[in-house]
Symmetry: C2
Subunit: 343 residues, 2 copies
């Protein structure tokens, strides 16, 4: 309320100089006696140091800027959790800016962040462009990308190839040979290219009769649902959605048509979201550890801030979550045993 209390007033009240108060606030070097007087004065006045003045001097904000494409995403939530888990103990705060999936706004947010004096930036980009690559070196502060990759930039991302490969291998070993991969545009390198390629190579490895048909869709339920009839027309033994959301749209379509999963066709996803556990059949999926990913990204920023070099790319573990939507073709069909939600 009322008057904004400054360091000067604290000093007067404590009967010491501004410098002493400043020292008290920072390194130390204050006698026990004055230390106590300053402490009392601060408590009494409710003094809080002016953020801007402090930053103007120190040239250090203890702020890490985060640019994310959108908020309404479980993935992003996990990522931020992981970031915060590392940054908070290190005394850094997080400043989050949302790009609304707009690439122009993403660039704008990065600039804005640097202008606001953050010490480093983590960008969960939807697509790194040449403009990104050009902008980053001009910023003269650590910028770490997640989710996508780009030569010359520091990118920490999940290993989409490995995830795809894991799923492909799993399905092949269960006797599947005819797959439809419901993927997204190749303009998305991580999901559209690497995840798919990993799947294809894992699925086809040493299996000459294996065949993968690609059907393109968007990231949302609806476009997957709309493309599902086309997928089904290939009579696959398994439909592999590139994301859990895609798979959910497909599942919905199959259910409407009375096509039983996994009896008539298996369905799998990527992401390992909780919601995959409550649908029926519960969705088998490859889960990514986005929290770990966020932690790695945060650690990379911290390392760079300390002047250490970090690898240009890093990866994060993936794991298979076996639920109910996949049929083991080596055995006669038996209805999956359902017993509770398998998170």
């Amino acid at each position: 309320m009322e008057h904004k209390v400054t360091i000067t007033e604290v000093a007067e009240l404590a009967g010491v100089s501004k410098s002493t108060v400043s020292r008290y606030l920072n390194q130390g070097y204050v006698s026990e006696e004055k230390r106590e007087r300053v402490r009392a004065a601060i408590a009494q006045t409710g003094f809080r140091s002016n953020f801007f003045a402090k930053r103007l001097k120190t040239r250090e904000s203890k702020l890490i800027g985060i640019v994310i494409p959108r908020m309404d995403s479980v993935t992003v939530g996990r990522l931020l959790s992981g970031i915060d888990r590392i940054l908070a103990p290190a005394g850094y705060q997080v400043l989050v800016l949302v790009s609304q999936l707009d690439q122009e706004k993403e660039l704008e947010n990065i600039r804005s962040l640097q202008q606001q004096g953050v010490d480093g930036i983590i960008v969960d980009s939807v697509g790194i462009t040449a403009e990104h690559a050009q902008l980053v070196p001009q910023l003269s502060l650590p910028v770490i990308f997640t989710g996508q990759q780009y030569p010359g930039l520091i990118c920490i991302k999940v290993n989409d190839y490995q995830a795809g490969h894991l799923m492909g291998t799993y399905l092949r070993e269960l006797g599947h040979t005819q797959a439809v991969f419901a993927g997204v545009s190749e303009s998305d390198r991580a999901v559209g290219q690497e995840r798919k390629q990993g799947f294809v190579e894992g699925f086809c490895a040493g299996s000459p009769e294996a065949r993968v048909t690609f059907v393109q869709t968007g990231f949302d339920f609806l476009s997957a649902y709309d493309a599902a009839s086309s997928m089904w027309s290939y009579h696959p033994s398994v439909i592999v959605g590139a994301t859990d959301n895609i798979s959910l749209g497909i599942l919905r379509y199959l259910h409407e048509r009375g096509i039983r999963v996994p009896e008539q066709v298996s369905v799998t996803g990527f992401g390992g979201y909780d919601v995959g556990a409550v649908v029926y059949p519960a969705l088998t999926s490859v889960a990514f550890d986005f929290e770990l990913l966020g932690g790695r990204a945060a650690q990379a920023v911290l390392d760079r801030l300390r002047g250490e070099k970090v690898d240009l790319t890093g990866v994060s573990p993936v794991s298979l979550i076996q639920r109910e939507s996949v049929r083991d073709l080596r055995q006669p069909f038996t209805s999956p045993v359902v017993n509770g939600i398998m998170l």
Copy 2:
């Protein structure tokens, strides 16, 4: 990179004074000729004004702080979208801090935000305490709460009572009389008290045979799933989950037990999330317009910043999304017509 260019250097390069450059950057009042010279100098040097120095002078950050309980929530995402939609055109930026559902951290975040000089704060609180009420007036800046209510504080929230009432009325008119309300603890005033009360009053209005049984659960799939057998034991005509997630857990349980929805029992939720459209049967729900809510909250901050008074509480419209999970008891059962995803 290299040297941080300041307003002084721009001035020298343009052959004008610092003030002229400053004026160029702000209101105007610069001759056409010098304006051009300054523009060129800025372009040449790549000058960007120092955020901290500027804020130190103006005492205005053009920053609105947002405190949210968590990131991995669709609700929160919508809310932020709505906030940004109002704030951005007004020249304000948004600084988001996440409290990880920790009430102590929430308070901490609010303090931290004010210390960092934001002009106003929006708090999507999980629970407003006396400590909140005590802290807010000390901040001497506009603080708007969403999601929860507290006397004396400015709270913009969805009308949970109305939402519950809407659902209650709808079900009653369809001939339902035996309901189980799968709710959360009354310590959550919005969901645990108001939403439930609205439902009960809407459901029972003028219907002497109506009965509502309350079963308590948590907010997650799993606890709803675990409590579902208890709910079913009352043989209700409809189970009303206090949130869509709760309903999804219940749906999963009913499916596992082979209990057909809506033939044997209807199920409804609150929230109107998209995922409710892809499960089967698609979930009938009351949707809240969180984007509008965010917009209202942002507008309230702006109004307060202009010195205008705003109402202590505001509401936001709710709407019923009729999908497939509710049976019309006034008619013999017919399988719901499914044709596409009903978002």
